[in-house]
């Protein structure tokens, strides 16, 4: 059947993701892990994976379950895998975190926790790719967003598999010297493939559909968009070559540096594309979610500018972590929060008012949110993130934790705004539904079959 319906479990993905983000920020504020400890310390790895898998991974997975059918204009393939994939991710992540806490001597170490967690997470991401790639593959001719999202599935699987190898090694289940050699040098590529390979390429693809839709801008394939696709693919090949050469016992930095350089060029072209989409828009007023996305894209470009500058200045080792931090919190998290603000309101509107559209007065989607209040929180979030990055560069960990506290405040406030939107609290009284109806379905789907 053509068309898209609401993805019943997406809100549950989003809620879990937000819990992980709050937990990760709270741990950082408490002084746990980076920057008090090196980034490859097990305590830091707890936070890194809480943010990368728990927050960003579930946020992207939940969004893909909703927007891949929109991109393909057909129903999701194997939608019944959505809930198992969520549960596998949650349990796998808990095991992984338990394993890291064991390595950090905080809880007793269970040897099998890391590999079991890695296996469950790999299974979860494989299910996600099966749903996403299967849905897209059947929707010919392939649109530009579809190609980007499909390309992003490849690094996702590689990231998961490399992570699984890490888990085997860290838990002491293997001491194969070649594998040990690989794992000593492949950490940065693992992070790169997850954060750029999967998430950034996917976000770029989805944004071509969503931003043109929100801005009423023509959706066309530009030369720059094609260039971004090829540059990204080349960057992935370079990163893959790096992993192979690490595995062959010839560790080298240049493949990953080449990959990052190509990604930087892609990011620059992407900024140009977004500028064109923005300039050609028919809708003059710009909503908060678009403003937040534009700030996030600015931070994406800034990441590569900082990276290039640090190569020129020659202080790359000190700059890698601040840049990775800005990439994760400025670009991916900023974009994610900005889009959540719109998606949550839209999905809620469609869920509660879709069935009565045309039959009774309904609120506008904008009536579900309080844009003035939310814009304050977004302002706080982005200011705190930029400040936190600067404090990392200046090596001021105590001040950094204060900036993280401001980030956490903004995230909690935005989470509260999302809940208010879900509960239809801000809707004008004339069109409000009984609050009990909305409250029951805050983060779980309705089980009467309507939303499927």
């Amino acid at each position: 059947m053509p068309g898209a319906t609401l993805s019943p479990w997406t809100m549950s993905y989003f809620a879990t993701a937000l819990v992980c983000l709050v937990a990760g920020l709270a741990l950082t504020i408490s002084g746990f892990g980076y920057p008090s400890a090196p980034i490859d310390d097990p305590a830091s790895l707890v936070i890194v994976h809480l943010i990368a898998i728990g927050w960003l991974g579930l946020l992207f997975a939940g969004s893909l379950l909703q927007f891949v059918p929109v991109i393909a204009s057909r129903q999701l393939q194997s939608p019944h895998l959505a809930l198992p994939a969520l549960l596998l991710t949650m349990i796998g992540l808990l095991l992984l975190l338990g394993g890291f806490l064991g390595l950090a001597d905080i809880v007793p170490l269970w040897t099998w926790a890391l590999p079991a967690g890695g296996l469950l997470l790999t299974a979860a991401f494989a299910s996600l790719c099966w749903m996403v790639a299967g849905t897209l593959a059947a929707a010919r001719p392939y649109s530009l967003p579809a190609k980007f999202v499909a390309l992003g599935c490849v690094p996702l699987i590689v990231t998961a598999l490399v992570g699984l190898l890490f888990a085997l090694f860290l838990s002491g289940l293997t001491d194969d010297p070649r594998l040990v050699g690989l794992l000593l040098s492949v950490g940065p590529a693992h992070a790169y493939l997850g954060l750029f390979g999967w998430m950034t390429i996917t976000a770029i693809g989805v944004s071509y559909r969503l931003l043109t839709m929100f801005l009423l801008s023509p959706e066309r394939t530009r030369g720059t968009s094609r260039a971004i696709g090829w540059l990204s693919a080349a960057a992935l090949v370079a990163a893959g070559c790096g992993i192979f050469s690490d595995g062959a016992g010839l560790p080298a930095d240049w493949p990953l540096h080449l990959a990052i350089a190509l990604s930087g060029l892609a990011a620059l072209f992407y900024a140009i594309d977004i500028h064109s989409i923005f300039r050609e828009r028919k809708r003059k007023s710009v909503e908060l979610n678009v403003v937040a996305s534009l700030v996030a894209i600015g931070m994406l470009v800034l990441c590569f500018v900082l990276f290039a500058a640090s190569i020129v200045i020659g202080n790359l080792p000190e700059m890698v972590m601040p840049v990775a931090y800005l990439f994760t919190f400025g670009w991916l998290t900023g974009l994610g929060l900005g889009q959540l603000y719109k998606i949550v309101a839209f999905m809620t509107w469609l869920e509660f008012y879709g069935p009565v559209l045309g039959r009774t007065a309904v609120p506008r989607v904008q009536d579900l949110v309080n844009e003035r209040r939310a814009s304050l929180w977004f302002g706080l979030y982005f200011t705190a993130t930029a400040t936190a990055t600067a404090l990392l560069i200046l090596d001021m960990p105590d001040m950094f934790r204060a900036a993280t506290f401001a980030q956490l405040t903004a995230v909690c406030a935005l989470a509260f705004e999302f809940i208010q939107a879900r509960r239809l609290v801000m809707v004008p009284a004339a069109t409000r539904l009984p609050s009990a109806v909305a409250a029951r379905r805050l983060i779980l789907p309705s089980f009467n079959g309507r939303s499927r």
Binding site: G3, T5, P69, V70, S73, R220, L350, L357
Partner: protein
């Protein structure tokens, strides 16, 4: 779907010293929508490939016994038409009684307008609407309410056209 072909043998024309181009173009002009052309010729008609390509046909060449060639020109698919699974014979639907140009509205307002217009019509009446986007969330809602629809993008993909035939009204869940 098996491809239907109209057959044209230009070997007799060439044998008699004639020029086959006109006969070929006449044959192309009389093809039914979706129909292909099977051309039989004593050589590979290279110049024709580009002409036919511009008219939206792909070609495939097969060598026949005796050194002649069979060239199959297959029309490329037109803009794909999507239709609801309950849609029956859209070509027989009534003329639209409501025409809506919704191409300047933000989503989801086009969906809201179309469903509003549908409520005011009787069963069997037809809405024609133009939108800037494919209304992916509208499709399942129309079907759920018992309406039939067909739709597609225009040639350059800048607008989506949809025809909706109002159903008898299925009770809501």
């Amino acid at each position: 779907m098996t491809q239907e072909f109209k057959e044209l043998d230009v070997r007799p024309i060439l044998k008699n010293g004639g020029e086959p181009f006109e006969a070929i173009m006449t044959a192309v002009g009389t093809l039914q929508p979706g129909q292909g052309l099977r051309l039989l010729a004593p050589f590979k008609p290279q110049p024709l490939y580009r002409v036919m390509d511009a008219r939206g046909f792909d070609h495939a060449v097969f060598e026949l016994d005796g050194g002649d060639f069979e060239v199959r020109f297959t029309p490329r698919r037109q803009e794909a038409i999507a239709l609801s699974e309950n849609a029956v014979s859209p070509e027989l639907w009534a003329e639209p009684s409501v025409q809506l140009d919704l191409s300047d509205l933000d989503p989801p307002e086009p969906m809201q307008r179309i469903l509003g217009a549908a409520e005011a019509l009787d069963a069997g009446e037809v809405i024609f609407a133009v939108l800037a986007r494919e209304p992916v969330f509208l499709f399942p809602e129309l079907t759920r309410r018992g309406h039939q629809w067909v739709g597609n993008f225009d040639r350059d993909g800048s607008a989506y056209r949809i025809m909706i035939r109002i159903g008898k009204g299925i009770a809501d869940a």
